[in-house]
Amino acid sequence: MLKGYAGKFLDVDLSSQAIKETRFSDEILRDYLGGRGLATKILWDRLGPKWETVDPLGPENILLLLTGPLTGYYPGGRTCVSGKSPQSNGVVGSTLSGEFGVELRCAGYDGIIVTGESEKPVYLFLKDSDVELRDAGEVWGKDGKQTVSMLTKECRGLLNTRYKKYGEWKEPAMLYVGPAGENKVRTAVVGSKWAHAAGYGGYGAVMGSKKLKAVVAKGTGPLPEVADVRRVKRLIDTVCNGIYEGELWRRWGTGAGGYNFGNKSSSEPIRNWQEEWHDEKSYGVDKFENRLWMKPYWGDFGCPTTCLKLAVVKSGQFKGAISDNPDYEMQAYLGPNLGIFSPEENVFLSSLIDDLGLCGIQTGNVMGFAAELYQNGILTKDDFEGLEPKWGDAEAFATLAEKIAYREGMGNTLAEGTYRAALAIGKRKNIDLLPYAIQAKGISIGAHGIRSGQDFPDIISYACSVQCGDHTSLASLPLDGGGEVMGIFSDSGVFCSFNGFGVSRRIRFDFYKAVTGENLTRKEWAFNRGLRILQLQRIMLLLGGPDLKWNPKIHDDNPPRFYEPLPNGPYKGKTADRAAVEEYKNRYYRAVGWDRNGIPTAKILKKLGLREVEKALERISYD
């Protein structure tokens, strides 16, 4: 057996309440690792033949909570959440930090496969191999913070009662959904530890559709045995020492971004991307740091960076709001994108978004979209049932976020996410609203613009990504550089890619060898194993359905706004050049083995040993 794996997965069917264990062959684990890669394989094997008809929010969908062989070993452990995405109708490997993956592996499991749909709200509680579904009636409807308090108390109580002689039990780790997930809002997250979220993909809605409120895990064993523990220990030191040399991420996390990406790289969403530059010193990181940060470092299991900062508003109108830095994405989307440039208001909105179980990126994007329609008079006060979403009005956006989480009035339409909302409102008003929708294939774009050319995404990064608007899974060339296939490695080994800064790129493969005992080179990953996962993700994305399908000729593109010139700032007038986008896209298609229409060729599928997938090519069709 491959080292570094617990070797078992929990297979939980909520319809029949049956819980069993599943194993995967070494061959599958070698090819697909874990996390995003293995999720893609499991989904293809179980749902592939009927993919187009599977409703992401129906009982047929599968919710995957997976670790990888490097979880807990490579500094900065994460957990990967996946399934058929209610945003893209493809597969997204959505990872979040925290101790859940470590607890799960210490309990003897590499992951949890959740199928079916429960009749009543439940949560899954496991202590090592004692696994049970428990009633979640009391905690259903509760927000993130309340859920964490109630279930920590209940489960720690169970441990203290059942295993009295052990001493004091630490809290188990937990993944959960808030009200937004329960209400199947497509911008809902699977959350952890109040402020952590697997956002991209919308898996909170999938978990909610299954009436699974939370998964609580306590593992008392060691992490799975590795091939060479002394080498692993040395590699941990190497990564950590490299990280300690760096200053930026440790000191500010991404929390300096709210000012910097606007001011320096001119790539921050401002008022729904009408602008990308600002010089609002009120939003400088020093204001967050000096007024709000109660902890200079906040992080998760094994992390040397601890890029989070604990922000607490202690006085004034928004007293009691708690969040992380907020990190850059939250600073941008729940700040300048809504015309807000006050740290306290930003922490207030971030705290609320976390409590509701919403994704700050997707929800901040759809609220910006709605606010621009209000600005232009396309939507009126009446459309919002009396609410006026004016730029900069934090309380109005707080109310709108609540309407989205509870699917009230206009919130019910916006709860479908930016793309679907644009189609629905456009139909109602008989106007094309896609120019206002800053998204790619159903997933709103991360807060890093491409027009100035100064930020890290390339001009095709969102257009060609198999995870669409996901700024952590960007298409770029060369394939073995820093692009999407390499991102699949960290999402499949399941560790934090942020702990790769300041560290040689080969270290992650050295880690893989020390943990599993198997050789793996960057080239082998980029041009074989990782590329195979990319093809499967691409095919499932293009199969799509049931409500939406993507045609690469139309949808492998940037949002129209990215072809409008930047209106101000040092890069005023700059825009994405359409000819350059087409040229880069064609080069990218060739490099990954897709034809001129963006469809994987039979040749590349054959080369990667995906011959059985070839037949699915016939099912890719456009209306």
């Binding site: 002689k165 004091e168 630490k170 530890k193 008392t220 094994g302 009691g320």
Partner: protein, 176 residues
């Protein structure tokens, strides 16, 4: 730094804890030769997110755990001042847990014996990693005649104190 072969104490600045749990990793790698959070002698509790803190032996000046042991499995190291467990004599009765004002000792998850911080024979690995990363929550100091017993506190009590300090008035509602 205290001189070699001199009793030490691990000073602790709990409110600064980042929750990175590198102390648990270092402790279990040192004592168990693998990463094993639940077998770590120092354990990071997070009963409320944001209020993480390391829970470890405070080496009370009167050592109530040593007093309570019916098989005399516990003793005090003359060199470091740490509580040492004789694994062969320990019967995993748990008397020491009840005797500890902070309920710090806990059972080894796989073996029938108690786990208590042994100060790594004078060079605590948890302190080393905490200092390397400049979190500086833990620091090795010379053991003096101080009220160390005050630091033997139950996890729920410490959480309550940190909630008041970090979250202020709002802190109370998150306690569980």
């Amino acid at each position: 730094m205290p001189a070699k072969n001199e009793p030490i104490w691990i000073a602790r600045d709990l409110a600064k804890c980042s929750g990175c749990r590198k102390c648990e990793i270092a402790c279990s790698l040192f004592h168990e030769k693998c990463i094993w959070p639940d077998a770590s002698r120092v354990r990071v509790f997070m009963l409320v997110p944001g209020l993480e803190f390391p829970h470890l032996c405070a080496q009370c000046e009167d050592y109530p755990c040593v007093e309570s042991c019916p098989t005399k499995a516990l003793s005090v190291s003359k060199k470091t001042g740490a509580v040492l467990v004789d694994n062969k004599t320990c019967i995993a009765c748990g008397q020491c847990i009840g005797a500890c004002p902070g309920r710090v000792p806990h059972m080894h998850p796989r073996e029938k014996r108690i786990i208590i911080c042994d100060l790594c024979n004078g060079n605590p690995q948890c302190v080393k990693v905490c200092q390397e990363g400049s979190w500086n929550v833990l620091k090795t100091v010379k053991r003096g005649d101080e009220p160390y017993r005050l630091y033997a506190r139950k996890p729920d009590e410490t959480t309550r104190d940190l909630a008041a300090k970090i979250y202020g008035e709002a802190g109370g509602e998150y306690l569980c």
